[in-house]
Symmetry: C2
Subunit: 115 residues, 2 copies
């Protein structure tokens, strides 16, 4: 845990958030500033700074994140309609919190380009 990381503090329960999923590797919360009717953030419990820090040893985590995203899409009612997953890395990517997270977005037609 990084004590100056907002998402680590959410994982630790020090900052409140609406959790929609949690397991041993991953938690998922609703985004405070949703840009779609369904906007959930999935993040590892462990502090991983960015997608750039992932390597093959993170396969169990990567698998869990993507499997959870699919399960949440179903439970949030957007499995059939469709959804978009977005991971921002670094400044050009628009990453605003330095703790890896996956945006799950749906409930409306997503446009192209994706930002």
């Amino acid at each position: 845990m990084s004590t100056d990381c907002v998402f680590c503090r959410i994982v630790a329960g020090e900052i409140p958030a609406e959790r929609v999923h949690e397991d041993d590797l991953v938690i998922a919360i609703r985004d405070l500033h949703p840009v779609a009717p369904v906007h959930v953030l999935l993040m590892p419990r462990a502090h991983i700074g960015s997608a750039l820090d992932l390597d093959e040893s993170d396969a169990p985590l990567a698998g869990r994140l993507l499997a959870c995203a699919a399960a949440l899409a179903r439970s949030e009612g957007i499995g059939d309609g469709g959804y978009r997953l977005v991971v921002n890395a670094g400044v050009d990517g628009g990453q605003t919190v330095g703790h890896l997270h996956v945006h799950l977005l749906g409930g409306r037609e997503m446009r192209w380009p994706p930002g």
Copy 2:
């Protein structure tokens, strides 16, 4: 392989594409209609229709896709500047080819919302 899937035919070499990476699980090609200076598509060799079809048994593939995306970001020169990963699933997600793929986008500042 699905014979009516464009990406399966690219994987099989039946349709030409500019490959920027290939290994036993994944290939990556340049998008024919780039929406950023760097726009690469990473896809499994195996036909997986959508992100909705992923479960925990796909962890090795998920890990490889994310590790390859990080490695490609570095080799494409956008590791330091940052980048965005996007996966579209279904109609609302804007999925246009029914074979799972990850968009790697960078070389410019990505905007918010992501479509």
